[in-house]
């Protein structure tokens, strides 16, 4: 191959200090996808801590029976805000943030397709989040008593109707989430247009990194399933403000309609949330195992399959509403079928590691944690999908344990893997591996200590969303252990926070390509310049930097 060596010219960024107001302006007015991506990620992490603190209070309340640390009203607000925040203000901005930062870099583009729409998306998202939290002040006026929404994160009607939920707190829930949803839609349209239109020369769809593929399917899912939620919320607001009767059972309205619309959104939503982690693993594992991703087409196909099948499984959240045996069987079957493509992904990641030379950097450790924990989470998901078993498990702590295994053991672990992997690219500094290992082990132990016991509490009949429980029902010890686990998690996250602060201040310089990686984002400087690439790259395979580093045995030979 005629390899032309391009000397990289780097106009050194003018070493000029910006004043505080100048740099603030630069951030607020930015349309740069990297800054927006970072802003998404930082807001997500801030909300993670806020919602995590709420969770810690809940765990303290539940540590012992008959506890009176917080009352029922406060507790109900805590889990509602915890769940809503985690899903809409942590999970969703992580999707948008990772896509924003990485997709253009990975496909060799200079920015997203619609930079201003992108900025709009971020600010409207943040506005939605602020609106939701404003409910603490505005839910019943500024009378002092906070009144955040207390209807649960899926806000089942008719509990949300004016008759059962007075004041404005539910309005804040519906409006805040609705508005932040517009941000997600804006960002999803942007991701799709970017992936489709701004790929650098040679970056055919077949050569697109798996991460980008995953984000593409993710954005598609957002566009298809977020509107049902918006529709339901608009109807709810019409009910509450104009006296419509969509969910008003006194007027013949249906309580089940809300559930259908919510879960048509809600189930695909959980895949929307997990996809960034899937994408991250597909990038990180090959680099640290030093092998290309095993079965690329199958990996992409599996994601597409999940994207489609997950649209047809929503009613597995509704097995207890008294559906016909046909519906129950159909939704059970569809839910279990999702396990097949998900299994393909787990097997292919493992096969990627098989025969490699695995380097257990912290990022890779989080990936391995993901694999084992997500396996457990998926298998408990299969148990829930078995409708008759779910009649017992539904709305019990078993479900709580299942979805924290997917969301923490899966999503959060995946995101941490991503952060340890891409932090050097984003900041130009390495994170400390030692502190990172502390972070990993503390968080991993704490997480398992918290959520393994909750499975058993659930199987002993403990329902979720209860602010307290009587002694002697066999739940105490499981709950106490679970609460102890939270302290480990806090310590872990504190290590992480300290690690980030330390590294930004005085971390080891990363260089452009610290992991000896293969995708395009490592072909530019760390941090990347505003325009990303000096000269638009041209690629001939899915591992352009591998081709460059191994001119005698490039990937494109096998394409």
């Amino acid at each position: 191959m005629a390899s032309i060596d391009y000397p990289l010219e780097r106009p050194e960024a003018a070493p000029r200090e910006f004043s505080f107001s100048e740099s603030l302006y630069k951030w607020v007015a930015t349309v740069d996808h990297k800054r927006l991506g970072l802003m998404y990620m930082v807001s997500a992490l801030v909300f993670l801590v806020i919602a995590g603190i709420m969770a810690s209070v809940m765990r303290l309340q539940l540590a012992v029976p008959n506890n009176h640390l917080v009352g029922p009203a406060t507790f109900n607000r805590l889990f509602t805000m915890h769940g809503t925040t985690m899903v809409f203000l942590v999970g969703m901005p992580i999707v948008a943030g990772m896509a924003n930062y990485l997709v253009p870099l990975m496909i060799g583009a200079r920015d997203m397709a619609f930079p201003r729409l992108n900025a709009f998306g971020f600010w409207i998202f943040l506005f939605g989040g602020v609106l939701l939290y404003y409910s603490y002040l505005g839910g019943s006026g500024l009378s002092g008593a906070g009144s955040a929404p207390d209807v649960g994160w899926f806000a089942y009607a008719p509990l949300t109707e004016k008759a059962f939920s007075h004041g404005a707190s539910t309005d804040f829930w519906a409006l805040g989430v609705l508005v932040s949803g517009f941000g997600s839609i804006a960002s999803a349209i942007n991701v799709i247009a970017t992936c489709v239109s701004l790929r650098c020369p040679g970056m055919t769809l077949a050569r697109m990194p798996v991460f980008v593929w995953v984000m593409l399917v993710d954005a598609w899912l957002v566009l298809v399933v977020l509107p049902p939620l918006s529709a339901a919320q608009i109807m709810l607001l019409l009910d509450r403000f104009l006296g419509a009767h969509f969910f008003d059972t006194q007027f013949g309205g249906s309580a089940v309609l809300w559930q259908h619309m919510f879960w048509i959104f809600g189930h695909p939503e959980v895949y929307i949330l997990i996809f960034p982690a899937f994408g991250t693993l597909s990038e990180v594992i090959p680099i640290f195992a030093r092998k290309p991703i095993f079965g690329r087409p199958a990996m992409v196909g599996a994601v597409v399959a999940i994207g489609f099948i997950s649209l047809g499984v929503w009613a597995h959240h509704m097995f207890a509403i008294g559906m016909t045996s046909w519906s129950n069987t159909f939704f059970a079957a569809a839910s279990m079928l999702v396990g097949v493509p998900t299994g393909i992904k787990i097997f292919n990641w493992t096969a990627t590691m098989y025969g490699g030379k695995i380097r257990f950097a912290v990022s890779m450790m989080f990936c391995c944690g993901f694999l084992l924990q997500f396996l457990v989470a998926g298998l408990t998901g299969i148990m829930l999908a078995i409708a008759p078993f779910d009649w017992q498990l539904h709305d019990s702590y078993f479900v709580v344990a299942h979805f924290h295994f997917t969301l923490i053991g899966g999503l959060v672990f995946g995101v941490f893997a991503g952060i340890y992997y891409w932090f050097p690219k984003v900041t130009g500094k390495m994170l400390s591996e030692t502190l990172g290992k502390w972070h990993f082990w503390l968080f991993c132990i704490g997480f398992n200590l918290t959520f393994i016991p909750l499975h058993f509490a659930g199987m002993l009949g403990m329902p979720r969303r209860i602010y307290t429980y009587a002694a002697g029902r066999g739940w105490e010890s499981w709950n106490t252990i679970a609460t102890i686990g939270v302290f480990f998690q806090i310590a872990g996250i504190a290590c992480f926070a300290w690690n980030v602060i330390q590294s930004v201040r005085s971390g080891k310089a990363a260089g452009d390509d610290p992991w000896d990686a293969w995708t395009l984002e490592w072909a530019t400087t760390s941090p990347p310049p505003e325009y990303n690439f000096e000269k638009l790259p041209v690629v001939r395979s899915s591992r352009p930097l591998w081709d460059l580093k191994h001119p005698q045995d490039p990937d494109w030979k096998y394409d």
Binding site: G71, A73, N76, Y156, F164, T249, G252, S254, A255, V256, A289, R290, K291, P292, F294, G295, R296, P297, A320, G322, T324, S325, N328, A333, M336, G339, V340, I344, F347, T350, A351, M353, K357, I358, R359, L372, L375, L379, M383, I386, P388, F389, D390, W391, Q392, H394, D395, F456, M459, L460, G461, P463, R465, I466, Y467, A470, G472, R473, G474, H550
Partner: protein, 336 residues
């Protein structure tokens, strides 16, 4: 492994209680719970096997292919891009497993949902309220609250209780783990369920759908007793309230208070429908859907200020004077 160990733990015998406080789904005592238990075991075995196989593979890979100290870092391992046979294998095998699971699920769903309950059933209507249960036995003319009495099902005399589930406000859910999984009580929609407890005893359950502030204290007890005991109970319940001459003044006080707007005491002026029927209050084991044991002291505390023991519940603090309180409680205690 963990799951199996835990299973063993869950199966270990609990002290013989007539009150089944530990609502372990792995100790079913009625047909629906029994079928659910069977399929639960089956799914544990299958998923357990998958877990052992896949986790084993992952851990083996992690250990076997970790980078060693003496590895040459410049030498990349062989680049393998995929393998159609292997990938086909791990697509097809899970599909087969899933089909087995679907088949079993379909069978159990149908057998539970479409099973006709045994003959000679007792019928009752369970109505969810925020945050208590109204129980009506139309055939017996009985209305009570928070405690369901049902006849026990014996091998010779197989009998079941048929529940019609309704709600007057928001969604609630019936869940007594040892008897049956959940079915929701949904306003403007009728659901059905049947149970056939095999042992006499008190089975604890909870409302299992979040229904507002006091969802945590919407507890339910199912009291399974011999058929004869059940019928004796029903007959007792059908009677109007005791007219104890001695207590006439206390009763007058009660009737003069606004209690009557929300509560019914059959045979008196009290005919409210908003709160639980109090006609045979003293025959119940708990107060306020399970928050308090039904003792004299607790009853007094409850009437004095229900918000103390069940904050947020829809019975207001009645702000009775001490005298009124004494009399009302004395009267309520006659409602055997």
């Amino acid at each position: 492994m963990l799951a199996l160990a835990a299973l063993a733990w869950l199966q270990s015998p609990t002290p013989a209680l007539t009150e089944h406080r530990i609502a372990n789904i792995f100790k079913p005592l009625a047909s629906p719970a029994e079928s659910e238990y069977q399929i639960a075991l089956f799914s544990f075995v299958i998923t357990g096997a998958i877990f052992v196989a896949v986790a084993g593979l992952i851990i083996y890979t992690m250990v076997r292919f970790r980078r060693r100290r003496d590895d040459d870092t410049r030498q990349e391992p062989p680049q393998v891009y995929g393998s159609n046979q292997i990938e086909a294998a791990w697509t097809v095998i899970p599909i087969l497993i899933v089909f087995v699971l679907i088949g079993v699920t379909a069978r159990v769903v149908a057998s539970v949902e479409n099973a006709s309950p045994p003959a000679s059933t007792v019928k009752l209507t369970l109505i969810g309220h925020q945050w208590w249960w109204e129980v009506q036995y139309p055939d017996f003319g009985v209305v009570t609250a928070n405690e369901i009495h049902v006849p026990v099902s014996r091998d010779g005399a197989h009998t079941a209780t048929y529940l019609q589930l309704e709600s007057v406000d928001v969604i609630h859910s019936f869940w007594v783990p040892q008897l049956s999984g959940k079915t929701d009580l949904i306003p403007n929609r009728d659901n059905f369920l049947w149970i056939d407890p095999r042992e006499p005893g008190v089975y604890l359950g909870n409302c299992a759908e979040y229904c507002g502030t006091q969802h945590a204290n919407m507890l339910l007890r199912v009291i399974a007793e011999e058929r004869s005991d059940f019928e004796r109970w029903a007959a007792e319940q059908r009677r109007p309230a005791e007219q104890d001459g001695q207590i006439g003044e206390a009763r007058a006080t009660f009737e003069s208070l606004s209690c009557v707007n929300c509560h019914t005491v059959k045979g008196t002026a009290a005919a409210g429908k908003f709160g639980p029927d109090l006609t045979h209050l003293m025959s119940r084991q708990t107060l306020g859907a399970g928050v308090l044991a039904n003792t004299g002291a607790n009853l007094r505390a409850w009437v004095n200020d229900p918000q103390q023991s069940k904050p947020g519940c829809f019975m207001p603090s009645m702000k009775l004077t001490d005298r009124e309180l004494d009399q009302v409680v004395a009267y309520l205690q006659t409602l055997k």
